[in-house]
């Protein structure tokens, strides 16, 4: 736990700095509108009162941290989780398609990587396309996937999960290609001296050697999946999910809602990455990993 304590002070200092900066910018950015309001109402508040007002607008340009915190708390803990305004409910909607897409993406990434490592033709033909696929902006692809799938009658969870898959298979493919190729020549020679079959070499050497690479790439992939799920909610006019909350907030200028949805999304992302990290550490320990 010492490493945790070592990190606590620097991380908290940065957080405090960010919060202070955030307040400063909230005052600066909300001031013009507040001045406007005051002049119309013929009021001339003192400096302290003026700053107080800039931090308490109902639809501020930049909400103050405490406004976001209050909104986040209300929508997370005070609403029934079945309510469409509950952040827990919306986060769950996004999380479910994230997890489905992540599972698809990881499976697809592993399958492609195994193909690339074992079939020389695939290595040459597929890899450039896979890299090209990630240069296409997802915002352009997402509506097409949703529309095309809707046309053939697939709606709901699957189209969103497909976008998550699209974003998450790539890091897994790249990581697993590297991982499956990571065994040292000496280890491969050793298997050769035993006259091991290709499948024995694969299961007994390449797969175990690739496990650390898998978990590293899964950490990237799970965060990408969440982004995919949120992006997938934007063009569909989805009624629920973090993405839908962001979009609705933008329509109705509910800037505080947008920010608290953003906070919810970040917390979900952090939790997902943490869960994958912990799973990775458990597996590493089970495979005889040296304690750090």
């Amino acid at each position: 736990m010492d490493s945790f304590r070592d990190k606590l002070v620097p991380v908290t200092s940065i957080l405090a700095g960010v919060v202070v900066l955030w307040y400063v910018f909230a005052v600066i950015l909300n001031a013009p509108f507040q001045r406007d309001l005051d002049s119309r109402a013929n009021e001339t508040p003192g400096a302290v009162e003026f700053i107080g007002k800039t931090l308490a607008q109902p639809k501020p340009t930049l909400p103050a941290p405490h406004q976001v915190a209050v909104n986040f708390f209300e929508n997370t803990f005070l609403r029934p989780i079945t309510s469409s305004r509950s952040l827990v409910y919306n986060a769950w909607v996004t999380l479910s398609s994230t997890l489905l897409g992540f599972a698809f993406g990881t499976a697809l990434g592993i399958i492609i990587a195994v193909g690339i490592v074992h079939v020389a033709t695939l290595d040459r033909s597929l890899m450039p396309w896979i890299i090209a696929s990630q240069t296409i902006p997802i915002l352009a692809v997402a509506p097409m996937i949703i529309v095309v799938l809707a046309a053939i009658g697939v709606t709901g969870l699957i189209p969103k999960a497909m976008i998550s898959t699209y974003l998450s298979f790539f890091p897994v493919t790249v990581g697993m290609v590297k991982g499956l190729r990571s065994p040292e020549i000496m280890h491969l020679d050793l298997m050769h001296t035993y006259n091991a079959s290709p499948s024995q070499t694969f299961w007994k050497l390449r797969v175990p050697a690739s496990v650390p690479f898998l978990f590293t790439s899964m950490k990237v992939a799970v965060a990408a999946s969440l982004v995919g799920a949120i992006v997938g909610e934007l063009p569909t006019g989805a009624v629920a999910g973090i993405g839908a909350k962001l979009l609705a907030g933008a329509y109705y200028s509910q800037s505080i809602d947008i920010w608290s949805a953003l906070v919810a999304g970040s917390i979900v992302a952090a939790l997902l990455v943490m869960v994958v990290g912990v799973a990775g550490r458990i597996v590493d320990r089970a495979m005889g990993g040296r304690p750090a």
């Binding site: 000496m186 280890h187 496990v211």
Partner: protein
């Protein structure tokens, strides 16, 4: 010298040329060598003399480009397919995700032995290298010398009569090395295996071997073969006897004659 026992390794006019970007490199040229059953043969020479390459050709990890090689009366490839030899690399090359006993079990799993048979052989070979009690440890929990002993156990586990060792103690300090040399001789005496041992240490070669093959580079070739006159029973202090020093001197002369000290 090997007339009575059948040849375990027989090389005739063996040559191997690597094609590199800087043109062909003759790693082995015209190697004639016969190794009989139960011999302990060391290959010694400076880097680039082809001693490791020769061992890899015997192991069918490299294909010769000329001449012939036979192992146990078969081609090197057939011998490898029959798992005729155990190979010990410069590094222990243990799988870090397997415990010591699972590492030793690796070749046995590949050969498809039953669990019971595996357990019996693991116990026997770990006993042989004095690693009993370390079955459940992972490689990183063992010292370098113990790791290399585990890798020797792994090479012994499937009862091949031929042991190919490529500078197995090269990365270890001299104290550990002395100790392992002594243990290796005991192991050789007990198991009656044929051992091919690559080294660049003259004392190590003289101490261990019944025969020393001196090699020299550019092109890699055998420049001298020295029969050891030392008895089979060799305590460590045999290395101070005049007989030992005489053989060591001959090896050194052989290396010099091969222009091995040119650069």
């Amino acid at each position: 010298m090997t007339g009575i026992s059948p040849a375990v390794v027989a090389a005739s006019k063996l040559g191997l040329t690597f094609q590199t970007n800087d043109g062909p490199v003759q790693a082995l040229s015209n190697v004639d060598l016969t190794i009989g059953k139960g011999e302990f043969v060391s290959f010694i020479g400076p880097s680039g003399c082809g001693k490791t390459t020769l061992l890899r050709v015997i192991a069918d990890l490299e294909k010769p480009t000329s001449g012939t090689i036979s192992v146990n009366g078969m081609t090197a490839e057939q011998a490898r397919e029959k798992r005729a030899y155990g190979y010990v690399f410069q590094a222990a090359a243990l799988f870090p995700w397997r415990t010591i006993e699972r590492n030793v079990a690796l070749p046995l799993e590949i050969m498809g032995l039953s669990r019971a048979e595996q357990a019996e052989r693991i116990k026997r070979t770990l006993d042989l290298v004095n690693l009993s009690g370390f079955e459940k440890k992972y490689p990183w929990q063992l010292s370098g010398g113990m790791q290399q002993r585990a890798s020797i156990a792994r090479a012994l586990a499937f009862d091949a009569d031929l042991l190919l060792m490529d500078e197995p103690f090269g990365a270890l300090d001299e104290i550990v090395r002395d100790h392992l040399n002594e243990q290796l001789l005991q192991l050789w005496a007990r198991t009656n295996k044929t051992i091919c041992f690559v080294t660049h240490s003259i004392p190590e070669a003289v101490y261990l071997s019944t025969r020393i093959v001196v090699m020299s580079p550019r092109p890699g070739r055998v420049s001298d073969i020295i029969e050891s006159t030392l008895p089979k029973e060799r305590p460590l202090d045999i290395r101070e006897t005049p007989e030992f020093l005489a053989i060591a001197a001959r090896v050194r002369d052989g290396l010099r004659a091969g222009h091995s000290y040119d650069d």
